[in-house]
Symmetry: C2
Subunit: 350 residues, 2 copies
Amino acid sequence: MSSSSSSSSSSSPLKDEVDIVISTMTNLDFLETWRPFFQPYHLIIIQNGDPSTTIHVPHGFDYQLYNRNHINRILGPKSTCISFNYSASRSFAFMVSKKKYIFTIHHDCFVAKDPSGKEINALQQHIENLLSPSTPFFYNTLYDPYREGADFVRGYPFSLREGVPTAVSHGLWLDIPDYDAPTQLVKPLERNTRYVDAVMTIPKGTLFPMCGMNLAFNRELIGPAMYFGLVGDDQPIGRYEDIWAGWCVKIICDHLGLGVKTGLPYIWHSKASNPFVNLKEYKGIYWQEELVPFFQSASLPKDCVSVQKCYIELSKQVKEKLGKVDDYFNKLADAMVTWIEAWDELNPSG
Amino acid sequence: MSSSSSSSSSSSPLKDEVDIVISTMTNLDFLETWRPFFQPYHLIIIQNGDPSTTIHVPHGFDYQLYNRNHINRILGPKSTCISFNYSASRSFAFMVSKKKYIFTIHHDCFVAKDPSGKEINALQQHIENLLSPSTPFFYNTLYDPYREGADFVRGYPFSLREGVPTAVSHGLWLDIPDYDAPTQLVKPLERNTRYVDAVMTIPKGTLFPMCGMNLAFNRELIGPAMYFGLVGDDQPIGRYEDIWAGWCVKIICDHLGLGVKTGLPYIWHSKASNPFVNLKEYKGIYWQEELVPFFQSASLPKDCVSVQKCYIELSKQVKEKLGKVDDYFNKLADAMVTWIEAWDELNPSG
């Protein structure tokens, strides 16, 4: 692990309680555009690819960098649960972090502007989302009732107005939308230009496609479920690490009475990934037709009172019900167990 | 029934398939501001209060007007199911209409402007909402996937992308939000200034507070469930007619695989109702703590394949489970049955 640190005098919300997590094979020039917002925070950088390559980190950032060798050394044989392709390796950062909150962002995401032309401090909005409650049990038609200028509307039960703690804040993307390869191929020129000024709680019992491009969560509440699984060149599936994690996270949040929000903040996603390369996701597209019904009918027993217990229980159900879809899911179920063991080793108190 | 008609040459979407429904005790001057959008359509006006009073309808509108005497004559003894206070009497218009679509709006609602300053044709947006499918089984993070410039995001199951028919389009309000009396009293100056450029499907299994101020629906798909119940001076409850209908509608839409959307279009709601008068809703505020769990756990048997059958079944469950909360619910359950009998009498083919 190499590290560098710089002091910052700017005041930024919860600056000592947040880790910003990034993974890359190449460079981190995108950090320059985020400097005013990110520099006060600590970064965890995961280096994908060849560990002997040097990654250039712009000066002045306070960071720790881990490559495959570091992770093998820290996790030993349990390092098999960490995939080094795509963004899946960021799971390790979630595990090794000692902070309460994680914000993770892709290195092709830049600062977006709101309709008034003001640069959006995505991290600040995520923190606002995470610090205010969620309302998963009943729909509020004026969206987030805790935002300034909004409230619960007529007909909203008073007993539900305290809400529940928010575990996840899922942010969105202007410019290049997060489409699958077939949609990218069919609509190569489509850009998201619609700024929807809303933060929504995803209701209990409803699954969503969680994208890891612009995502924040409360590590203490849901960290052990934020496992990006086995993906990449040595696996039969790609581009499903965040989607898979999202399904597990949502099932567990619903079970434990935690909230998942989506909407603001936007980032500017400037570079579409290659749809031809993205066709590697084809097995995911095929399998998700079985995975979604599996998650929709999954239920966790009452004695699963911690995220870890929920996650181990879910791994058993994955093995039992998805193992017959493909042997990959047996391996994934085993990796889910390894992941929890590794998490508990690195986070002994929790 | 008095009627007047005028021909209109403007082209407006589905102009022969929509009834606009309004109720009032006083005047309909607000129609002047809606003239460019509403004049091509047919209106059904329900006169609350003294039938001998003359309601002034601005010239040039094509309308039918019903007062209490007309309704008593048409429904006979079954007219007991129609309350004449508040907006509940509009249920009669839903029943007597012969059109496929209904748009109902309060007479204190005016044309709103979008952020570019353009006047919003609320009816046109409702029709767009009703003509495009809903997606109640899985959350799409870029909101309505059928809008121009949007689609289903990565991780959205392909088998669910056709969606389901949309039964209800619930529009929102700029300026005065639809708050209950306690919230009105606590926040007398709060105004809704946030234009959220989104149309959302309310997921299956999630209830919402349906407001009748700015509401459209497909009469053929869900009409018999759009009953605004027993409210008003001779009842122990007020201001719950639309909320109650919304719960019934949502349960039945979920059961029959129909969609409910909320969001655009906005109207301009300029006049807050009197919060002291609105305190008449107090029993509703109290009862809704029991009503919401009742609806959340309500389930309809498989042989309920029509809205009417669903609604009759729901009336039985209301009597069985809510009758003990207050005798009012026994009366309401009976009125629900009367409502369906009257509906079928006026709509013999359906």
